[in-house]
Amino acid sequence: MVTAAQEKLPGKLIAVEGLDGSGKSTQIHLVHQWLKSKGYRVFFTEWNSSSLVKEATRKGKKRQLLTPTTFSLIHATDFADRYERQMLPLLRAGYIVLCDRYMFTSFARDGVRGCDEGWLRRMYGFARVPDITFFFRLPLEMALGRILEGRPQLKYFEAGMDLGLSADITESFRIFQGRVLDQYLAMVQEYGFTVMDATLSVHAQQKLVRKVIQDRLDLALYHKRFFP
């Protein structure tokens, strides 16, 4: 039986992954602007953004009510909502769907939090593997530097404080991000990530990203059929 995660769909799915501070959001934003300006059917969605689930996530994070399991489930709920109401219908309609973070974010972060690898992968079993997953690889120290100099107010869960790695939030963040990076690197082969050198300039990276997309997708198929 071919599940929805495996069936061939007219649309294409492109995801970006990487550590906080790796520049992936900037890159996917530029891809979105580029495809829109060329008149392609394109849609952008980001991790943890479904309005329905947002309130519960916000509350849970603020009051530190979340355990690794519920933290993971609440993000999966958010993902399922966006996936089934937006991503999948748009893929069926022949859109290019751009995702700022995808299930790999859960595999990496929740894996570090101790969630069972098999449990996570089966839970996200309904989601297709993207046609292209860009992984923005940056040495740990550089990623930490970008975040720590630009935004010194670290958030509790973002810094992995729930893991009790260190009482010092900055130190906890360093350790947590290091472990997340290891998880990502272990997935490169398994999911065929396209690894990008995130130490290059934004412009240089974007040129490479666009080239990969042009080479791998037949963009002509995604021109808008109607112009409003």
Binding site: L66, R113, G125, F126
Partner: protein, 233 residues
């Protein structure tokens, strides 16, 4: 009491060897008498010196309010609703059920993962996917499924509410435009799913068409045996 078993894996940070309480699940549709009997059982168990904790669905601090709101709007996809319920379940599992089992309580659960799985499967979810989501649930020491005929169910529902509940009638499933027909078909499908799960999970099916005292005596007799069995090991 015996250490708790889990269906597949246990949640991060939980030592199953330290869960010494007993987990007893009462399953059944609305109006099958679940809450009445849980009330009677609680009183009886406490009289005998057992500490009792009651748990149920959609009661977590984390998402219960959001879940209720989302259901009013009826715009969640079935899978989103499944995962929302799973979040609620695990929140209660980790914050109420597991601490109570660790403290040696008898936990009476007003429905459990089986209702959640049956609802999802009736709505088209793949059984292996649903089972994998709930793989970290503790295996109960006993599950009693209160089986009620459609006729009794309809009588009791109308006596209590004079109207049928949207979700308990499966009105989101497109079974019939007629509310009453939809209720009957939906409840039949749920019942069929429970029968299918019965073999796999070893439920005790209890005839709940009887009077409150008759069913109460039956349940107490069965629970007495469960407690005798779990205390011996």
């Amino acid at each position: 009491m015996s250490p708790q078993r889990f269906y597949n894996i246990w949640p991060p940070g939980v030592d199953p060897g330290k869960l010494t309480g007993a987990l007893i699940v009462i399953e059944g549709p609305d109006s099958s008498g679940r809450s009445t009997h849980i009330g009677l059982l609680t009183q009886w168990l406490e009289e005998q010196g057992y500490a009792v904790a009651q748990v149920g669905l959609k009661r977590s601090n984390l998402v219960a309010a959001e879940l209720e709101k989302a259901k009013q709007g009826n715009i969640l996809s079935p899978r989103t609703l499944s995962l929302f319920y799973a979040t609620d379940f695990y929140d209660q599992l980790e914050n109420q059920i597991i601490p109570a089992l660790r403290a040696g309580f008898v936990v009476l659960a007003d429905r459990y993962i089986y209702t959640l799985m049956a609802r999802d499967i009736v709505r088209g979810a793949e059984p292996p996917w649903v089972e994998s989501v709930y793989a970290m649930a503790p295996v109960p020491d006993a599950v009693f499924y209160l089986m009620v005929s459609s006729k009794t169910l309809v009588d009791r529902t109308f006596q209590a509410h004079a109207e049928l509940d949207y979700w308990e009638s499966g009105m989101d499933c497109g079974l019939s435009r007629d509310w009453f027909q939809s209720f009957l078909r939906y409840q039949r499908k749920i019942r069929q799913e429970f029968v299918r799960m019965q073999n796999k999970y070893g439920f005790e099916v209890v005839n709940a068409n009887r009077s409150i005292p008759a069913l109460d005596a039956d349940l107490k007799g069965r629970i007495q045996q469960v407690l005798a069995r779990t205390e011996k090991t």
